[in-house]
Amino acid sequence: MSRSVKLFAFLATAGLLIAACGDSGPSAPGAQQSAPGTAASPAPAAPAAGRPAPGGTLTFVLENDVINFDPLVSRAFVDRNVHYQIYDSLVRIDAAGKIIPWLAEKWEFSDGDKTVTLSLRKNVTYHDGTAFDADSVKWNIDRYRTAKGSARSGELASIDTVEVVDPSTVRFKLKAPFAGLLANLVDRAGMMVSRKAVEAGGEDFTRKAFRAGTGPFILTEAIKDDHMTLEKNPNWWGTDKDGNKLPYLDKITVKPITNSDVRLTNLKTGDAHVGNNIAGKDVAGVKAEGTLVYQEKPGLSFASIIPNRAPGFVFEDARYVRAVSMAIDRQEIHEKVFFGVGAIGYGPIAPPHFAFDPAFKPFPKADADGAKKLVAEVGKGALTFEFLVSSGDPQTLQLAQLIQAQLAKAEITAEIKQLQFSEILKLQDEKSFKGATLIGWSGRIDPDGNTYDHVFTDRPFNDSSYSNADVDKALDEQRATTDEAKRKAALRKAEQTMVVDDPARIWYRFGVAQLITVKALQGLEPYPDQLIRFQFAWLKK
């Protein structure tokens, strides 16, 4: 089952809620990464027992094989786990989710937020020896924006031109202000790749992207469905807070293992040292057993039931959607399907987002009677709809059947229809599915990435064919300014509408970032985007 279903099904990963509920924003354990806008270098994570010792090899079990090493065409979430080690982006986030300098040491917005000027780090070279400079940035960004088959063009759509001011200064001119630009540059759309390597690799570059980045590790080997080898980059520019060169580790072997049980077994036997995705049912056992260290942090991803709200379909009436949202028992789902790992969610703005409102709990308990009343109000008789579920994933099936049983208490009938994942995608793409589907979203650093394209009229991820003028207006507002207070207000207003008054979807859960390590492995902590950063990792002897 190694296919894109994992991309969506990974939402089923779980970890126990840490006692961070109650905070009004993301909290980060232990020491911090450097603050934004300064030229500091990344500091190591929570103070570990002892001094970091250089050297060592570790094995990382990844939930799927990396298909595309080229950020240009990469479309799978799992690829990013390796990208973050071998490439540097213009900016990054710290463990709390705040954007920090990376290859760009500082940035300045001007001209009504329509121009961004980035000052680049000096003396950085690619693994193949070529220099990183403003020309390289321009070439990369232009490639992402314009190359055929690019998966990044949407993320950089707001950029009109890229100018080289001098070898370490680059300027983006935007078509319109876009608050989520920096967040997009954290990830693949901002990853810098060696032009020489890309041109030499040709069509096979994406499968054999050796020595093509500036990151802390160098990709030296990649054997399909077997393993990837990442070796220490001795010339990496990052240092720890004491000034020691990073990374500490000599080598990382990445092994793709699609089955969660096998991954866990590898960790237990010591064949692997770190993993970032195990099933909820195993978490309690891992914590009780004590041989492995389990860490967890709220993630940016969400899970939702997507109703087809286009005219002519069952869920065209907003009251039906709200009835379903009222009738499901999010707490029961959280406990029985996900074993208490993860967080109950009501909307798309996730706990690590600055705009998150922990008091926003519009449907705290399952309300079958309220749902019945709403359906009666519509007056067309009982509510029945087709519930499309992807075959081949037992957890999704369990979830669907539990939801079906919960809705039955409110006299709502969900007819489960098991289809191939590929077929569901097609129906969703054509907006022709008759009832609802269950496909989730892996989450983005900026709340704009979790909302805009999903609920704005006619946007690509708006699978529910939702259209609400107030929501559109509020989302455009929050996108056009970098003032956090203004954005927060607009986002929360939009959320109230799209979740309660005129629901676009039925959100029920947030994902979680997990980290499972052997005791000897220090220096790692989970990040809200669920991706690992290995430059801080070291092995205790």
């Binding site: 089952m1 969660s260 049980d261 866990l264 077994t265 099933a279 049912k281 195993d282 056992g285 029961e332 406990e335 029985k336 579920v389 075959s391 081949g392 037992p394 957890q395 099936l397 369990q398 669907a400 059947q401 539990l402 079906q404 049983a405 489960i416 229809k417 098991q418 289809l419 191939q420 077929e423």
Partner: protein, 276 residues
């Protein structure tokens, strides 16, 4: 026929087992203590005990009841797919064998292609093409079963075709269809009956395999293969009862049909015994 049966306790045993299965399937509502699709999440993952003889699954459903009701799907798949294979396979075999010539050539090439196609892959591909529903699994398995019947029938037809009594019938002017149905078919039927029993066993296994791969029946209807697939992930947590129940059920059903088929073969056609 009854002389054979009295002399052959194995047929009686096999027959009783199969009959028992059919009765369980038919009278499932009377035998199962709980509703197999009733979800009660508070009772999830209970090990076998006095309340639930085979424990509960991760949605709190009674495993024993699901196993009992699951027999309906497995047996109906077995019977229907074998019937499909039988009807089409035998018809093609009869036609090809009796008519010969171009018909035979084309038919046998097509059958060869079906045979060269890995059976499980063919079933998977057909189910994937038509959609993961139980009817399509029946069609897929039926199609996979066709070649065996065709070859068997055709072989019989070819060997019987030149026999005197057939030649006599033709000379007298008996219509082709009548010859085929009245004279050739009954002589081939012994081997076909044996094949039917064994094929049912295979069909049950195949349905389980397809469901195991996620291509079989729709939830929440209980199906043995799907229940095993569905609960497999809990094995690593040593929660074995959800997979053990359906697994043993499949084994028993397949065993019964194989046993019966073997016994029938030994009794009805001693010549076939060699070709184990």
């Amino acid at each position: 026929m009854s002389w054979y049966l009295r002399r052959n306790p194995r047929i009686v045993i096999g027959g009783t087992l199969v009959a028992g299965l059919l009765l369980i399937a038919i009278f499932a509502p009377l035998i199962a203590p709980y509703d197999p699709i009733a979800v009660d999440a508070s009772q999830a993952l209970e090990p076998p005990g006095s309340l639930h003889w085979l424990g509960t699954d991760d949605l709190g459903r009674d495993v024993f009841s699901r196993v009992v009701y699951g027999s309906r799907i497995s047996l109906s798949v077995g019977v229907i797919s074998v019937s499909i294979g039988f009807i089409f396979g035998v018809s093609i075999g009869l036609l090809a064998g009796y008519l010969g010539g171009l018909v035979d050539l084309l038919a046998m090439r097509a059958i060869d292609a079906l045979l060269a196609f890995p059976a499980l892959v063919l079933a998977i591909a057909i189910t994937a093409a038509l959609g993961p529903q139980i009817q399509n699994a029946m069609i897929a398995i039926g199609v996979v079963a066709i070649p065996a019947y065709t070859r068997l029938t055709r072989g019989q037809v070819l060997s019987l075709r030149e026999r005197d009594f057939i030649l006599a019938a033709r000379m007298v002017g008996v219509p082709t269809l009548r010859i085929v149905l009245r004279h050739i078919f009954p002589n081939a039927s012994n081997a076909l009956i044996v094949q039917a029993s064994l094929a049912t066993a295979f069909a049950i296994l195949a349905e389980a395999a397809l469901s195991f791969l996620g291509l079989g029946s729709q939830p929440p209807q209980p199906s043995w293969g799907q229940d095993i697939n569905y609960s497999q992930r809990y094995l690593s947590n040593l929660k074995w009862w959800m997979s053990a129940g359906p697994g043993i059920a499949i084994f028993t059903a397949v065993f019964a049909f194989n046993f019966l088929g073997d016994a029938l073969r030994d009794a009805l056609d001693p010549r076939l015994r060699r070709a184990a």
